[in-house]
């Protein structure tokens, strides 16, 4: 297991000794995790390994039974959460709720909180430039609940970037998105990361995308089974620890570092 020491002031996120119990089950048992500023860190693990629980703790949605979470050196609280953007797993939306993309984006923008009284053209002036290079214009009139998986995730990224967050948390962001949509989503994240020097925590079980984009990987299965660079973590022994005995990664010829696991998508 590789280990790197970080200076606290250089960390966007620091988790120490995190333990979480859901009912009788302890789903996270002593998690230590560091996210340096401006880097993409991935958390991988099989279903039920505690990835989403970990992310819910980072967002203050789940109370840990022990341990410490610090964002930008400060304890977790509403103030420091203002510096965080969050892209959830695909939302299960009620199609009868007619919130349009324009209205959805206006909900978070401070200047357009009272969007209901605003003219469409005035709202558009404020929303322009939310996701430069990725024109959301054609989607603005569409109901959020009527978007395709890939479109919805692009809109959620734009929403999460409102207020210029310094840390982006992505929870299985391409679950239910088709392969081309998945690729363009990760390209979007990579370009946003480059342009804004964001710190990113990517929770995923899509190993090929993690390999391509993350600078550091934590393999989780209740505990951190292994951590390190993608090359270090994604060898068969490390992944077998996280995913269990039957895991056998294999390589394709179409592109460097392109790892797949049957049944893991991507």
């Amino acid at each position: 297991m590789a280990s790197i020491r970080f200076h606290r002031e250089g960390l966007a996120l620091e988790v120490r000794g995190l333990r979480v119990s859901l009912g009788e089950t302890e789903v996270l048992r002593g998690i230590d995790l560091h996210v340096p500023k401006g880097r993409i860190v991935a958390v991988i693990g099989p279903n039920g390994s505690g990835k989403t629980t970990l992310l819910r703790c980072l967002l203050g949605l789940q109370k840990p039974s022990a341990g410490e979470i610090r964002l930008f050196g400060q304890p977790l609280g509403p103030e420091v959460l203002g510096r965080v953007g969050y892209v959830p797993q695909r939302l299960s939306l009620d199609r009868s709720f007619l919130l349009s993309v324009r209205e959805f984006l206006a909900l978070r923008l401070r200047e357009t909180r009272h969007w209901i009284w605003w003219r469409r053209s005035t709202l558009d002036l404020h929303l322009r430039g939310l996701l430069p290079g990725h024109d959301l214009g054609p989607l603005l009139d569409r109901p959020v609940a009527g978007l395709s998986g890939g479109q919805l995730q692009r809109v959620l990224v734009a929403f999460s970037l409102i207020g210029s967050p310094e840390l982006l948390l992505l929870d299985e962001p391409t679950a239910g998105v088709d392969a081309p949509g998945e690729q363009s989503f990760y390209e979007l994240i990579a370009s946003v990361h480059r342009e804004r020097q964001l710190s990113v925590v990517l929770v995923s079980h899509d190993l090929s995308m993690v390999y391509r984009h993350a600078c550091r990987v934590y393999a989780l299965n209740g505990v951190i089974c292994c951590e390190g660079t993608p090359e270090e973590v994604m060898n068969a022994d490390s992944l077998r620890q996280a995913y269990g005995m039957h895991f056998t990664p294999y390589h394709h010829d179409h592109g460097p570092g392109h790892h797949h696991h049957p049944g893991e998508g991507g």
Binding site: L81, P88, L93, L98, L99, S100, R102, L107, D141
Partner: protein
Amino acid sequence: MESMLIEPYMQRALLIAVLLAPLCGVLGVFVTARRMSFFSETVAHGSLAGVAIGLALGIDTAWPILGVSLVVALLVLWLRENTDLLTDTIMALLMSGFMAAGVVGFSKLRGFRGELHRYLFGDILSVGWPDVALAGVVCGFVLVFLVTRLSPMALMTLSEDLAHVSGTSVRRLNLVFVVLLTLTVALSIRLLGIILVTSLLVIPPATARNVASTLRQELLLSLVCGLLSGILGVVASYQFDLPCGPAIVLTAVGLFLLSLGARFLRRPARLSTRP
């Protein structure tokens, strides 16, 4: 028409319809999107126990109806947070328990059997000035709530997690919404009756959705449909000597059918693509 307006009981009935029916329309957009229709049913049916308490004590039933409705609503929230019971189970348990208590209370009261019908289906004669005053106060609170908290409310309806990350205290906002919804439902019982009160939270938003394409349009149209249903229903109740609740509901259903026709004419293909 003029004779209708000089009757004090009609003035009160129309006033309370103008105050509460549009509120039901707007709150209903969130109630239906958050799948809380059964919650409104629970509160309304449970309030029968409040009616029995009011009649037994010989006081204006408005206060015990409000009190019992709030107790039922807060019990739903408390049991949901502090037990492993499914929300549906909790609501069915409280609805049947409080309603059974109300029916037992009525069975022990002498001379009030006829009252039961009025509370079950609504009666314009039963609206008093204290009801109008209370409706005015609740209307004011709901309007302030909607004007100041519409964005967090819309975001919470879409995703509670996103609302939390965006700085909304989801628990507090949910509590305020539930209390205001409960007060609106409890006060609307005079006009619509216990059995039918939820219909004004469900039918106007459904009508609006047939023709709207944004949340703003949906809220506005639902408000207008609620208002029209309330006023036309009360007028029909007076003119044709109909029970008030069913008259309002049938008006709302009529508007829904009109909107359905409009939707067929505007975009016939969309009906078949909806799940």
